[in-house]
Amino acid sequence: MNSLYKNSLLLFSLAAFIACKKNDELLINGQYKPASTVTIDAVVMLTKEGQITKTSLIKEFVQRHGQQDYFLFDKRTDLTDNNSSTLRLDFHEDGTVDTYYMNESASSKGKISQRTSSYIDITAIESAIMPIGPNPNRWYSWKILPARPNP
């Protein structure tokens, strides 16, 4: 019985290790672009007195100030932020990332309009700010480095 318990514990530990390992390994390379739809997580109104989450009240407040274009209140989830829709991230094998925005105007469609940074140090991915654990969601940060000198 004791042996069975030990074996079960070992098996469980191994399974947990594999699960954690799998969670850590996310192969990121090549060029990525945003999907055409957005997932909305929350809309919240904060005051010193507390927080409001009732959408109708928030919508009324935002519309009263003429700022409704920044927020999504309908079931629509299309990517209305044009700047974000042209974002491209290019992850390289050497651990660097190019990030830039594509030009969407008819005359120069497909050309890079704005290169916001030259390289991102993906090795800083180790500085995850979310703990490893049962929560599969993890946040990573990166540090944008100065442009590399031309060889």
């Binding site: 990525y32 809309v43 904060l46 010193k48 990517l79 599969p136 946040w139 990573y140």
Partner: protein, 96 residues
């Protein structure tokens, strides 16, 4: 509201010799964030409206952008008359 701006920056100041005529220069290191959920890569987006109403004046600003997350510490800094509306969104990154 540091974490609500995008990207956040760390700044290094470099001193220069007096003969240059300058005291130094700043080096900016912007920092962004990606989110990984269930093996998928996401860019966090955030819409923000800040409204502040004082006795004599009212201030209003609104913005939206990529790589933004909300700094919950802001709640402690709110004064009577302050209102913040934020909406967290995220867009999945698709490999081309």
């Amino acid at each position: 509201m540091e974490n609500s701006s995008s990207p956040t920056q760390s700044i290094i100041f470099h001193y220069l010799p007096p003969e240059t005529g300058y005291s130094g220069y700043y080096e900016f290191y912007p920092t962004g964030r990606l989110e990984i959920r269930n093996g998928q890569l996401y860019v966090p987006l955030m819409a923000l409206l800040v409204h502040s109403k004082g006795q004599d004046q009212t201030c209003l600003s609104a913005s939206a952008g990529s790589f933004r997350t909300f700094n919950n510490e802001i709640k402690k800094q709110l004064q009577p008359g302050d209102t913040i509306v934020y909406q967290s969104k995220r867009v999945m990154l698709i490999k081309q």
